[in-house]
């Protein structure tokens, strides 16, 4: 698929000179081509953290879980969001993910869906793909923030898309 492998600014968009649309399209190209996820600091005693750690502890016989738990402690609960979400999905949600790169694939599948809509209500780019039934959040600088499956009943609350991916990148 071209959008996944060699995305570039859509020629019509370049001709239009629409600065905001061009900035967004550039962020999507970076998001597709560069798997960069931010780090965040977990609240070690926070309910969300503890709930996930509890789920992980029941799988502490597995090497990847043990290594992740040790890594969390070593880095004082500062964690890459892709890693954190991977372990949440796999061990708290029983998601059949094999490795963290599958989250990258899910993310790219949303951003590279030509029919996906782009929403700008949040200060980041929110991209929703009806085909994938997933929503991805992209930072203004193109970092990958998150990808997940929202409730379809909530999608209308996003309003109308500002752009459609196929008009942004080609």
């Amino acid at each position: 698929m071209t959008l996944k492998n060699h995305p570039k600014l859509h020629p019509d968009l370049v001709k239009s000179g629409d600065r905001l649309a061009l900035e967004a399209a550039s962020a999507f190209i970076k998001a597709i081509t560069t798997p960069e996820w931010p780090f965040s600091k977990l609240q070690a005693n926070g309910r969300m953290t503890l709930r996930t750690l509890m789920a992980l502890q029941t799988h502490a016989n597995l090497l990847e879980v043990r290594e992740f738990l040790a890594d969390l402690l070593e880095h004082n609960y500062r964690v890459n969001s892709r890693q954190w979400h991977y372990f949440k999905y796999k061990y708290e949600y029983n998601d059949p993910l094999i490795n963290p790169t599958e989250l990258d694939e899910r993310f790219v599948a949303v951003i590279a869906d030509p029919q996906a809509g782009v929403y700008v209500k949040t200060g980041r780019y929110v991209v929703y793909s009806a085909q994938e039934e997933r929503l991805a959040v992209v930072a203004l600088d193109g970092k990958r923030i998150t990808v997940y499956r929202p409730d379809l009943a909530d999608i209308a609350a996003l309003g109308d898309p500002v752009w459609i991916i196929q008009h942004q990148i080609a």
Binding site: S40, G46, Y93, K121, L135, V137, Y148, I155, A157
Partner: protein, 116 residues
């Protein structure tokens, strides 16, 4: 807990676990509003309370919250606390309007922040 099967809280749970955890939540408040209209089972009520507690904690402590989440909607009654996360964050939300089980989480977060 196994969340692999979609249920009526799935959307809100996803917003909490995979968006709020990174300071975001594009459908967090809308999803919570939709659930508020349901007549919930006891199990759903318990699960919702657990999610609400997480939201209150994350709003209090999260370092990289997106500013839009803290833009309160004055048109919506204060009792719908999820539309007033800015007041929750700034500790100006009237605790008496929260359900008792959430009030204690809110007040605990307020005290810890004040002591920090």
């Amino acid at each position: 807990m196994d969340h692999s099967t979609p249920d009526r809280l799935s959307g809100y749970r996803a917003e909490v676990d995979f968006a709020l955890s990174v300071g975001d939540g594009p459908l967090l408040r809308e999803s919570r509003s939709r659930i508020a209209a349901f007549s919930l089972t006891q199990a759903e009520t318990d699960a919702l309370r657990a999610l609400d507690e997480i939201v209150l904690e994350e709003i209090a402590y999260c370092e990289n919250l997106q500013p839009y989440l803290l833009e309160d909607d004055p048109q919506i009654p204060l009792t719908q606390w999820w539309w007033h996360l800015g007041k929750i964050r700034s500790k100006t939300y009237p605790a008496s309007l929260l359900p008792p089980e959430l009030r204690s989480v809110y007040l605990a977060a307020s005290h810890q922040n004040a002591a920090a």
